[in-house]
């Protein structure tokens, strides 16, 4: 009896609703879609007009000679060839930028992690310090602070004077081709507050039970750091690392301010983006600058990819274990 009623009931439902609901369901889907596109329209216009089309155009321009006034003149791979094989200043800018990324990013992240661990155990006053350490991250990007930096590291500035007093004679950093880039490095490291705040939030999510259990098992502070803090924090380390590397490749304002805009002395602060600006907007080689931008995009893409690949071996996601 029950089988009869259950087979009959759906059949009746199907018959009464079959032909029309399909159509109205499709219409429903269509009706539900258009508001989404209205919401998205500013973003879609921006994505097409200000991102996708410009990307295609800049790729095209990178194969041309273009000075913004005359029509672009197709030169094939000439720009890339010149950049890679005939332009020592290009390689100088690559070297300076790589040196900067390799020195500044680990220093900044190390300091950020160290201070975050210090603040985590601070108890009272933690909120105050957290905010105070964060302040340079906001101010440091400004032209004002870049100018302060220039004065502090210049001949007769505070930093060479203090170093003199402890017996290290460096002279002014700003005019010294061997040291100028480290002034920019230190300005970046000074802004460690942003990754520090992210580290601190990550540290606070690690369950205290883990540390208690480890302490009961006789694990010392170092052991706890290596076996609990590092693996639990590795996703945050990875996030900060990717973010800082991508940003560092594009550093501009401090290099511009410290060198007075020309990447000096002796091109020692001619960072990649500063050279790109000089080629495109000062020397009017827009095609060359576009080619530089594309190689920057490729370099950032490759390095990000490598970071993601290697992350599989050292980034630990707690929720993966449970699955």
């Amino acid at each position: 009896m029950s089988t009869v009623s259950t087979t009959r009931a759906p059949a009746r439902v199907e018959r009464t609703t079959d032909p029309r609901p399909r159509r109205s369901k499709r219409r429903q889907v269509r009706e539900r879609q258009w508001p989404a596109y209205v919401f998205l329209s500013p973003w879609m216009i921006g994505a097409v007009v200000l991102t996708l089309v410009p990307m295609a155009v800049s790729l095209y321009l990178s194969f041309t000679d273009y000075n913004l006034f005359d029509p672009p003149h197709w030169v094939g791979l000439r720009n890339y060839q010149e950049m890679l094989f005939e332009d020592p200043r290009y390689w100088r800018s690559v070297g300076t930028t790589l040196l900067y990324v390799v020195v500044a990013v680990p220093l900044k992240l190390g300091l950020a992690l160290g201070v975050a661990m210090l603040l985590k155990n601070l108890g009272r006053g933690r909120g105050f310090y957290r905010s105070a350490f964060y302040a340079p991250s906001l101010l440091g990007a400004s032209m004002s602070i870049a100018l302060v930096w220039k004065a502090l590291f210049n001949d007769g500035g505070t930093v060479p004077d203090v170093l003199d007093a402890v017996g290290i004679h460096t002279g002014g950093w700003v005019g010294n081709p061997d040291l100028a880039v480290y002034g920019v490095v230190l300005l970046t490291v000074w802004q460690f507050g942003a990754p520090m705040v992210i580290f601190l939030a990550g540290l606070q999510q690690i369950s205290p039970d883990l540390y208690e259990a480890a302490a009961l098992d006789g694990a010392g502070r170092w052991r706890q750091f290596v076996s609990i803090t590092v693996p639990m924090l590795s996703p945050v380390v990875f996030f900060n690392l990717v973010l800082e590397v991508i940003n560092s490749f594009q550093v501009f304002t401090p290099a511009f301010a410290i060198s007075g805009g020309d990447g000096g002395p002796a091109d020692s602060t001619m960072f990649y983006t500063l050279y790109l600006y000089e080629r495109g907007f000062t020397a009017s080689h827009m095609g060359y600058a576009a080619a530089m931008a594309w190689l920057l995009l490729i370099a950032i893409g490759v390095i990000t990819l490598i970071l993601f690949r290697t992350s599989r071996s050292w980034v630990f996601y707690a929720d993966e274990e449970g699955r």
Binding site: Q33, P35, L50, T51, L68, A132, A135, V236, F281
Partner: protein, 278 residues
């Protein structure tokens, strides 16, 4: 180590770190008040007497454009950017977080990918577009892109926040006949206020600090922002103009400092959550 040192050591280390860290800011403030002859010769941080004339000189501005005009220009650009970003990024974020549409996954992936896109790749064609439109040397190239949700970071931040909000309110509103625009405006937006405030504050500070874009698009001194004026101040200055230059520097970072003091809780939390939820 006894318990007293154990408790005081981290505090001492943190305080010493803070002193070193804030020294450049103290130096900026002190130098802006130093008489010209003390800027280079004296090693003391504090000036022998306060030289307020540095500030009156700075207020006169650069090449005949007063500081109030420069600040007005900067405020207009930053204000337009804030309005544009909050509006356009929250609209796009609502669609990504709450609405269903074809290609949503592809579009979302594209949006996230643009987070990593260096600005320089689109810079020159964008410049050509604004040049063709006759908008170079106006504020439009600095404001208009913000109304088109070009800063994926904020779209992403708001999406992450909206996904964390309970759906129940919206669903019951829909049952009561509330359309998606009403739901966005009256239910989701008010709930997403922390994310919107974070977006507004960061947009304001980043636009205020921006130098590259402003330098490329603005030429006429009367359209200069305070940052650009500061730069032209540098070009023409000798050490005798140090005091006024740093007085102007103080004026230019003052809004950021005020923003920071008022909103530091939102800023720090916004930074922390945007980092973690990714």
């Amino acid at each position: 180590m006894n318990i007293a040192t154990k408790r005081w050591l981290p505090h001492t280390v943190a305080a010493v770190c803070l002193l070193v860290l804030l020294y450049p800011l103290a130096w900026l403030l002190a130098t802006s008040l130093k008489p010209a002859d003390e800027v280079v010769t004296s090693l003391d941080l504090l000036p022998s007497h306060l030289e307020w004339s540095n500030y009156t000189t700075a207020l006169d501005g650069v090449s005949g454009v007063t500081v109030s005009r420069l600040l007005g220009n900067t405020l207009l650009i930053a204000g337009g950017a804030v309005l544009g970003n909050v509006l356009s990024c929250s609209l796009a974020a609502y669609a990504f977080a709450r609405l269903r549409f074809r290609m949503s996954k592809v579009m979302f992936a594209f949006m996230v990918a643009t987070l990593m896109l260096p600005h320089h790749v689109v810079l020159i064609p964008q410049y050509i577009i604004f040049n063709r439109l006759g908008l170079v040397d106006s504020f439009w190239p600095l404001i208009l892109p913000k109304f088109l949700a070009t800063e994926a970071f904020f779209v992403f931040l708001i999406v992450q926040f909206m996904r964390g909000l309970p759906r129940e309110l919206e669903e019951s509103a829909r049952i009561d006949g509330c359309g998606p625009f009403r739901a966005y405006w009256s239910i989701t937006l008010p709930l997403a206020r922390p994310a919107l405030i974070t977006t507004a504050i960061f947009t304001f500070i980043w636009t205020w600090n921006d130098f590259f874009t402003q330098m490329i698009y603005l030429f006429a001194p009367e359209k200069f922002t305070i940052t650009l004026a500061l730069r032209s101040f540098v070009d023409q200055s000798s050490t005798s103009a140090y005091g006024p230059m740093f007085a102007m520097s103080v004026i230019s970072v003052l809004p950021i400092v005020l923003f920071f003091l008022v909103f530091q809780r939102y800023l720090v939390q916004g930074m922390a959550t945007s980092g973690l939820k990714g």
